[in-house]
Symmetry: C2
Subunit: 396 residues, 2 copies
């Protein structure tokens, strides 16, 4: 596709990991890339300028949210989403499907499309594959997604197969509906936890030659090992020369593991959401800044981090802002976590280019603790309480 392509840098990686570049009308995006989520035309708490200042090159916006508020015609009338939110770099929009299935009450699906009620005001709406493309063309993102059906993660083979087949029919309709030539349209592979369905889905969609391929429906509640096995098997089947996008993932450790499986593009609200809850990422793991041990700490969250928050503020100041629920707290924490995510994928990419990704991954996973001491303690406490054994807590 003109002016919107993917270049794979190295041809012969020892593992599955890849380094590449997405060339978009709004700049080159090195991959692997992590996209923060700006559901409602803002990465929560941040200006677009701050997101760019962190070094991030692409963000995700939600068509569902923007369709409801302020409405696609409003954004289109104001010159598109980039201009509306003041972001000059790349944007990826989802089709709205995932949000409809997860947020909107009373959604009813048919071959024609999805009827749903707004989670904001209860109003009735109907979206089709054609409308999903029309809305995304109105928003003007660089990468847009087909409308897909996300089956329940505990669905039967037949239910998951039906959702997959409908996703395929919708993918074709989305392709036919596409009018703009400057947007890269990605298909979404479905098939749940059934390897033969994933395989069918990849074969069918690969034949249609989309600009990129997403792996959908994998973060809906399965155990992590199962999810990662499906991602690995699916990624291995996808066309080598097209970007691979793992939707809704995620945590630093999941991302490093998924890069090893050959994923190029990630988006997740997790780093920004946990930031607003006071969980800050470091290379040793998550730190809960509200912990009273941080009350007097003069050091930054991570002395090795070059982000605005770590350059300017002590852990004690962040702890104080969180304790007082000052709005600045959420923002400084968000900046730090996004800088961490950007550092993480940048370092992973450098390691891939240098041929040392396997050791990078091993070292990272050895030092990174997904949950911090306090979270582990509270989980243990819950577990003990559930067995009425809380008196044992101090014995360990």
């Amino acid at each position: 596709m003109f002016n919107n392509s993917f270049r794979l840098l190295q041809k012969d990686a020892s593992g599955g990991e890849r380094a590449g570049e997405l060339v978009t009308p709004h700049g080159v995006v090195p991959t692997p890339v992590f996209c923060p989520v700006g559901s409602q035309a803002t990465v929560k708490t941040l200006t677009a300028e701050e997101v760019a200042g962190i070094g991030l090159k692409m963000l995700l916006a939600n068509t569902y949210h923007l369709y409801l508020r302020p409405g696609i015609p409003v954004i289109e009338g104001l010159g598109g989403l980039h201009k509306f939110m003041g972001w000059a770099k790349a944007i990826l929009t989802d089709s709205g499907g995932y949000q409809i299935f997860s947020l909107a009450p009373l959604c009813q699906i048919s071959d024609e499309g999805v009827a749903f009620r707004s989670h904001v005001d209860g109003s009735q709406h109907f979206i089709t594959p054609e409308l999903a493309i029309q809305y995304q063309e109105g928003l003007g993102a660089d990468i847009i997604m087909v409308l897909d059906e996300c089956p329940s993660h505990d669905g039967s083979f037949e239910k998951v197969r039906e959702a997959m087949l409908r996703t395929h029919r919708w993918a074709e309709r989305c392709r036919r509906a596409q009018k703009r030539t400057d947007q890269a349209l990605y298909a979404i592979v479905q098939g749940g936890l059934f390897p033969e369905l994933r395989c069918q889905s990849v074969e069918y969609l690969a034949a249609l030659e989309f600009a990129g391929y997403a792996i959908g429906g994998v973060s809906l509640g399965e155990p992590k090992e199962v999810t990662m096995a499906v991602v690995g098997e699916t990624a291995a089947l996808l066309p080598r020369d097209k970007p691979r996008y793992l939707m809704g993932v995620g945590s630093p450790d999941d991302i490093v593991n998924a890069i090893a499986l050959g994923i190029d593009v990630f988006d997740s609200a997790l780093p920004t959401r946990v930031a607003r809850n006071g969980a800050l990422f470091t290379w040793q793991g998550r730190r809960n800044i509200t912990n009273s041990t941080y009350k007097k700490m003069a050091e930054p969250v991570d002395p090795g981090c070059g982000c605005y928050t770590c350059r300017n503020y002590s852990v004690a100041y962040l702890h104080h802002l969180f304790t007082c629920r000052e709005l600045l707290a959420y923002r400084l924490a968000t900046i730090h976590n996004l800088a961490f995510m950007n550092d993480l994928v940048t370092k992973a990419r450098n390691a891939i280019v240098a041929g040392s990704f396997a050791s990078f991954r091993r070292d990272f996973l050895a030092s990174y603790q997904p949950t911090d001491e306090q979270t582990r303690l509270s989980q243990k406490q819950k577990w003990l309480q559930s067995r009425s054994l809380s008196s044992q807590l101090t014995e360990d």
Copy 2:
């Protein structure tokens, strides 16, 4: 006082208005000056860098809030308030008295000091004039305030006189308690709405030669005309060569009127508080950004405003962020209102220097509407509803 003084620029203004400079250890502050309120070591939603970027030269922090959280020793141990919050310009701290009387439950006053409970956790505390100075020396502000007693605004002559006399005794104790020589200590004139008490209070405190004089207890519910009459009479009695600080004022029109009465220093949470409620200042008055008429407006809030918000975002984007309750909304609105306040006092000062303040004030008050159309409408609606005549609303 060494390195912390006040310079009055013009000697013979036709009216009472004055232009001057506060020389502080953290820079020169041109007066009249508006200080935003950073109660808990942050001007709500903003970094110190953003506050400085707006052009503001001094902010107010609340000793009461910082004493409770994170505690004075924590901030002192981290190098003082300037360093703690990353603000290199001037800081003014109040003594904590006003917050204790307005926020803390069950406060009991005696000549020794004030016993109060924390509004955060109900814990019991006791503050004396000596401790108020000690805490403010620990925080390290450039300008500090005496502990005063704010009498109820509907107090009898005798009650108000007692509070005034106690304020005088406490002012003397504060002076004696002061150890640092780099902080300017301001006294607070009390006396309620009784001109003879205000006069006594000025005479008593002026004889003690404080570095500056605040007019306290005037924004506690009296009608605006009464307040302004008291401010005018009190200001006229104050030493001409010392800065005059009107505590807790306020709105753009009140500030312009008080400048005419000879006030130099203002602080108020109003501009930032109303910003977070979607009320944005313009030279024509307040605009309620949540009004649906702003949904598609491509222009900035004020095309003549040079603030970050107006340079980068449309009214439509702000309206959208407020509609979705995105945290970025509160911040962009706060930046705009503080930029407006800074523009306002800067333009007032320029007019004073040019000898044209009277016409500046007249023009400003003629064009500035303190409440916007929507607020007026809702006030009218309330009035009509209170008379069960709401059906007449559409007839007008």
